[in-house]
Symmetry: C2
Subunit: 181 residues, 2 copies
């Protein structure tokens, strides 16, 4: 089975940032021709589908500068260096929602945009939440508001494009398909 | 309702590419502090859930340099300048699969990675496919192979992470939830 692999001839680093790096790779194509690939390097991300005792989904509302919109999303964030995805997921849950959990189950993972980025996101689910007694400090340039929505309310948010990103749209569809809420 | 909007103080253009641009925005935060946002600009994308007469999903296998992996995905691509998403979806379906359709229905749209990119992807579905008599030429640096999978086979591909990207994972879950295959 042909895998069409593209071999790197040369890598040109364009930018090193706080969240992403950018490079342009010169690659040799399966037909021998040479092309350029623009590649955003990202450390990977985690997101948590967190369900409260009264069957609400815990979501965070935040302004997303790239989209120039305020979006309602799963609690999520990028994986720190040398951090395991599961540990990152618990950390982000604690930082963003004030909840923690001892039981987080893996749902799926996927590349968010494999055409130009290597970001891989891991999605977990829990319905055994505990309120943290002492809140954990998150990133100091993140301004978020916590929402707890029923599945029907969340579906309405999808309809109105207040929920409007890959991981959260996936999660709402997942909970719908699960048929348990 | 607070929307936590971040006002742009200054935009620094870092890179202009074939597929993406990169800029760093200096923004004023809701608390008056200043921060930086790394922003990938993308023209937007389309993808098509294409179902054949014998109930198979038409997928394309291609090497994705950013992920260093060969992935099986919905036929998809970026929206050309001044192109409507629906027209782009039909064009990509024709270029990548050799099928066309007169009836494409909107499923959903979502930002793939709103933390660092403005890419918005529109997903459509059709089960009225016609084979093109004359194939349409796609991008000359794209090497793809067409697969037609049953829903059960596609779920197996998700399990094995051969299908492993946001739009396609969403699509397989959507077809599962629809319960019609």
């Amino acid at each position: 089975m042909n895998n069409f692999e593209e071999k790197t001839i040369n890598t040109k680093k364009i930018f090193e940032g706080k969240m992403i790096d950018l490079q342009v790779d010169e690659v040799s194509l399966p037909n021998g021709e040479v092309s350029q690939r623009e590649i955003v390097k990202h450390p990977g991300a985690v997101a948590v589908i967190a369900i409260t005792k009264d069957n609400k989904i815990v979501l965070v509302k935040q302004y997303r500068k790239p989209t120039e919109k305020t979006l309602v999303e799963l609690p999520a964030g990028k994986i720190d260096q040398n951090e395991q995805p599961l540990a990152a997921a618990i950390r982000e849950l604690e930082e963003e929602t004030g909840y923690t959990t001892k039981e987080l189950n893996f749902v799926t993972s996927f590349y968010t945009s494999p055409g130009f980025a290597n970001e891989l996101i891991y999605i977990y689910i829990t319905d055994t939440l505990e309120k943290l007694e002492t809140p954990v400090q998150g990133d100091d340039d993140e301004f978020i508001e916590i929402l707890e929505l029923s599945l029907d309310e969340a579906k309405q948010y999808v309809e109105e494009e207040k929920i409007h990103d890959a991981k959260t749209n996936y999660a709402i569809l997942y909970l719908h398909a699960l048929g348990r809420m």
